[in-house]
C-alpha cells in the first residue's frame, strides 16, 4: 500500500517524465552520440569502429586543423568583443532615449530577426569586388582607385566575415543589456550625482556592476553561437581564400558531408567543447556566487 508521500513522489516523477524524456531524446542522446562518434572511425554507410582518442590526436597533428582552430578563435573573440562594445553602446543610448524608444529598438532588432542566409548573401554582395556597394562607393568618392579585395585578401576576408557576424549579433547584446539597465535603481545614480560622480565613474561603479550577470550570460550564449556559426562563412567565403576563413563548422562540414568522415568530423566539431564547458562552468559558478 502506497503512502501519501510515496504517491506524491510518484506523481512528481510522472509529471516530469515527459520533459525528462524529451531532454534525453533531443539533447542528451545527440550529444552523447556525437561524443561517441568522435571516438570512432566512422565513414558514412559503414559501421563505426572505436578508435579511442585517435581522431583527436590526428587533428592535433594536422596543420590544417591548427589553422582552423586559430581562425575559429579569431572569428569568435573578435566578433564577441565588438558585439559587446556596440551592444553596450546601443543599450546605453537607448536607455537615454525617451521619445520613439520602442520604434528605434524595433529597427535595431532587425539584423537579429533577418535570416542569417539573407544577411550573409547581402554582405557578400555589399563586399563584392566589382559590383559591391562598398567598393563602388569607395571608388566614387575617391577613397580608393580600384576595388578593395574584401573577400579575397586573407586578413580582409576574416574581417569581412567578422563584420557580418557582428552586424547580425549586436542587437541581441543591446536588447539584453537594455533590459538589464532598466532594472538598475535610479536612486543609485541620484546618490552618485550628489557625490559628484561623472558619467564614466557612474558607468564603471554602478551600471556595469549592476548588469554584470546579464553581460556574462549574454557573452557566454553568444560565444557558443558564434563558435558554431556556419552560414555566414560558408556563404561569404566557403572558408577561403585558401583556408583563411575556414572555421570549425565549415571544416566539420567538409570532413563530415563532403568527405563522408563522420568520426573525424565529430572530433573536429567537439574540439572546442572543453573550452566552452570551462566557460559555462565559470559563468555558472560566478552567477551562483553573485546570487549568494
Amino acid at each position: 500500500m502506497l503512502t501519501d508521500r510515496h504517491r506524491e513522489q510518484l506523481l512528481g516523477y510522472t509529471m516530469i517524465a515527459p520533459v525528462a524524456i524529451f531532454l534525453a531524446a533531443l539533447v542528451a542522446y545527440p550529444f552523447l552520440s556525437a561524443i561517441y562518434l568522435s571516438l570512432t572511425e566512422k565513414i558514412v554507410g559503414y559501421p563505426a569502429h572505436f578508435v579511442g582518442l585517435r581522431n583527436y590526436a590526428n587533428l592535433l597533428d594536422s596543420g590544417r586543423f591548427r589553422i582552423v582552430a586559430w581562425n575559429s578563435a579569431v572569428f569568435t573573440v573578435a566578433s564577441i568583443a565588438v558585439k559587446l562594445v556596440i551592444g553596450m553602446a546601443m543599450a546605453l543610448a537607448l536607455h537615454q532615449v525617451v521619445r520613439g524608444n520602442q520604434f528605434i529598438r524595433g529597427i535595431l532588432l532587425l539584423p537579429w530577426i533577418i535570416p542569417t542566409v539573407v544577411i550573409a548573401l547581402t554582405w557578400k554582395w555589399l563586399l563584392d569586388l566589382f559590383r559591391g556597394l562598398v567598393n563602388v562607393t569607395l571608388i566614387d568618392v575617391g577613397v580608393v582607385k580600384s576595388g578593395v579585395h574584401w573577400l579575397g585578401d586573407p586578413s580582409l576576408a576574416m574581417l569581412s566575415v567578422v563584420m557580418a557576424n557582428i552586424w547580425r549579433g549586436f542587437p541581441f547584446f543591446g536588447v539584453s543589456f537594455l533590459a538589464a539597465l532598466q532594472t538598475v535603481p535610479q536612486e543609485l545614480y541620484d546618490a552618485a550625482d550628489v557625490d559628484g560622480a561623472g558619467s564614466w565613474q557612474k558607468f564603471w561603479r554602478i551600471t556595469l556592476p549592476s548588469i554584470k550577470s546579464v553581460v556574462a550570460v549574454v557573452t557566454l550564449l553568444s560565444t557558443i553561437v558564434t563558435l558554431n556559426d556556419f552560414n555566414i562563412v560558408f556563404i561569404m567565403t566557403r572558408g577561403g581564400p585558401g583556408a583563411a576563413t575556414h572555421i570549425f563548422a565549415t571544416y566539420s562540414y567538409e570532413l563530415g558531408i563532403m568527405s563522408q568522415r563522420w568520426g573525424v568530423a565529430m572530433a573536429a566539431s567537439m574540439a572546442s567543447l572543453p573550452l566552452v564547458a570551462l566557460l559555462i562552468v565559470g559563468v555558472v559558478r560566478y552567477l551562483h556566487r553573485e546570487e549568494e
Binding site: 559503414y46 566589382f130 559590383r131 573577400l151 579575397g152 583556408a243
Partner: protein, 434 residues
C-alpha cells in the same frame, strides 16, 4: 479526482507525441509509389521536361512518382542522411562520384540490364563515362548526361587587343596580361581555384594536361609527380602573384559568382558549364554577341580534360520496387524521351551514349565545342576509374588547396605538392583501391 484520472490527459498527450515522432514508413511503403531525387540545374526549362518525362515513364510502369530536387551544394547533405537512415530514394540521380561511393557500400542495384537496353537505342556508352559507373564488370548506374566545363571568353576584347583565342594555360596568362595592360579589365583571368566545381574541375584538367595525375591506370595511388605539377602550379599561380591578372577574391567565389562576373562584363575568361549561354540568351543579354566558348586549355601532356559534372541514374537497394524503378530509368533514357530532354536543355545536357552526339542538334559552333569537350573528358580519378578514394580527393578539395596554398599561404609549389601528396596518400591508405 484520483491520480489516475488526473494522469489520463498526460497519457493521451504522450501517445499523440509518440505517434507524431514515430519514424516515417519511407517513400516506398505504399504500393505503386516511387521516389526520385534529381539535380536542380541552372536550366529550369530542361528540368521541367525531365520531370514530365519521368512522370510519363512512371505512369507507363503503373507507378506514382514523387520527385525531390537538390543542388550541387546540398546534394551530399541529403544523400549522407539517406545513406545512414537507409532511406535512399527508389531512383537517384547521382553526380560523378556518387555511383562509386554507393556501389562501394553495396547500396546500388546492378543496372547492367538497363544499360544494355539503353545502348540498343542510344548507341554504345562513351568510354570516358564508363569509369564512373562500371565497377567489377557491372554497371551500377546509367550515365544520364554530362555538363562539360568550357572556357568562356570575350571575343570582342580579344579582337581589340589582337589576340587569338587561347589554347594553352600559358596563352591565357599572356592574353590576360595584355588585357590588363590595355586597361580593359583589372583582373581578366577569372579562374577560381575555389571549393566548387568551377575550381576542382579545372584543377584536374590543369594537372592532367601537365601529366600530373595522382593514380595509375588501375586507380592505385602513385603520387602527383612533382616536376610537372610544380610547372603547372607556377603557370596558374603567377596570375595571382606575379602578373596580378587574377584577384584573390576569385578564390572565395561561389559556384555562380563567376557567371555573374562574366555577365557583368568584369572578366575576360572563366571556366563554366554552358549555363552562361542559356542565361544570356534567355535575358537577351547585351554581352551575348561578344561571348564565345572554347575547349579548356591543353598542356605539355595534351588536352586531358576533366569530366566532373556527370549525372547518372542509380537504383538504390533500399527500394522495394527496384524492377519498376529500373523500368522508369530505362524509359527516361529511351530515345524518344531522351531526345525531348536533350533538345530542350539549351545544350547543357550532353549525352554520354554515342548516337545522340551525332544529332544535328549539336551542329552549331558552340554545340560542336560542347560535344568535343565531353568526348575528350576524363572521369574523376583518371587515368584509373572513379574510386571512393578519388572521389574524396576531389570532395576534400586537396587539389585546389594545393593551388591556394601557393597563392594565399605563400608556400612554395614544391612544398604544396608534397602536402597534397601526403593528404592523398592518407586518403588512399584509408580507402584502398580494390
Amino acid at each position: 479526482m484520483s491520480t489516475l484520472t488526473r494522469l489520463t490527459p498526460l497519457a493521451v498527450l504522450l501517445i499523440v507525441v509518440v505517434a507524431l515522432v514515430a519514424p516515417d514508413p519511407g517513400p516506398t511503403a505504399g504500393a505503386g509509389k516511387l521516389s526520385l531525387w534529381r539535380l536542380k540545374t541552372y536550366i529550369p526549362p530542361a528540368d521541367k521536361i525531365l520531370d514530365a518525362n519521368a512522370q510519363e515513364c512512371a505512369k507507363k510502369a503503373g507507378m506514382e512518382l514523387a520527385i525531390q530536387t537538390y543542388t550541387f551544394d546540398d546534394m551530399w547533405t541529403k544523400y549522407t542522411a539517406a545513406i545512414e537512415s537507409k532511406t535512399l530514394p527508389d531512383i537517384a540521380e547521382l553526380d560523378a562520384v556518387g555511383p562509386a561511393r554507393l556501389a562501394n557500400l553495396g547500396r546500388l542495384s546492378d543496372m547492367s540490364d538497363v544499360v544494355g537496353g539503353v545502348t540498343k537505342e542510344l548507341g554504345p556508352i562513351l568510354a570516358n563515362a564508363e569509369g564512373a559507373v562500371k565497377f567489377g564488370g557491372k554497371y551500377y548506374a546509367v550515365p544520364h548526361y554530362g555538363i562539360p566545363l568550357v572556357l568562356f571568353y570575350r571575343k570582342d576584347i580579344l579582337e581589340k587587343i589582337g589576340a587569338e583565342p587561347p589554347d594553352t594555360w600559358e596563352a591565357i596568362q599572356q592574353i590576360s596580361q595584355k588585357v590588363k595592360q590595355a586597361g580593359i579589365h583589372d583582373f581578366p583571368n577569372g579562374f577560381p581555384w575555389n571549393r566548387t566545381g568551377d575550381g576542382y574541375d579545372p584543377a584536374m584538367s590543369l594537372l592532367w594536361s601537365y601529366g600530373a595525375a595522382w593514380v595509375d591506370k588501375s586507380g592505385k595511388f602513385t603520387g602527383i609527380p612533382k616536376g610537372p605539377a610544380v610547372q603547372a602550379l607556377k603557370v596558374v599561380t603567377s596570375a595571382y602573384l606575379v602578373d596580378k591578372t587574377a584577384a584573390f577574391d576569385y578564390l572565395s567565389w561561389s559556384g555562380s559568382t563567376n557567371n555573374e562576373s562574366f555577365m557583368a562584363g568584369k572578366i575576360t575568361f572563366t571556366p563554366n558549364g554552358p549555363s552562361i549561354l542559356f542565361q544570356e540568351e534567355s535575358n537577351k543579354h547585351p554581352l551575348q554577341k561578344d561571348t564565345a566558348i572554347k575547349l579548356m586549355p591543353k598542356g605539355p601532356a595534351g588536352r586531358n580534360l576533366a569530366l566532373t559534372f556527370v549525372m547518372n541514374w542509380g537504383v538504390p537497394v533500399d527500394g522495394k520496387q527496384q524492377k519498376e524503378a529500373k523500368a522508369v530509368v530505362g524509359c527516361i533514357m529511351s530515345r524518344t524521351q531522351w531526345m525531348k530532354y536533350m533538345t530542350g536543355s539549351f545544350q547543357q545536357a550532353v549525352p554520354l551514349f554515342a548516337r545522340p552526339l551525332d544529332d544535328p542538334y549539336w551542329n552549331t559552333p558552340n554545340g560542336k565545342t560542347i560535344v568535343e569537350t565531353v568526348k575528350l573528358g576524363h572521369p574523376v580519378g583518371w587515368p584509373g576509374p572513379t574510386t571512393p578514394a578519388a572521389a574524396e580527393v576531389v570532395s576534400s578539395n586537396v587539389l585546389t588547396d594545393m593551388i591556394t596554398q601557393v597563392i594565399v599561404d605563400k608556400v612554395t609549389p614544391e612544398a604544396a605538392v608534397d602536402e597534397a601528396n601526403k593528404r592523398i596518400k592518407e586518403i588512399y591508405d584509408r580507402l584502398p583501391v580494390k
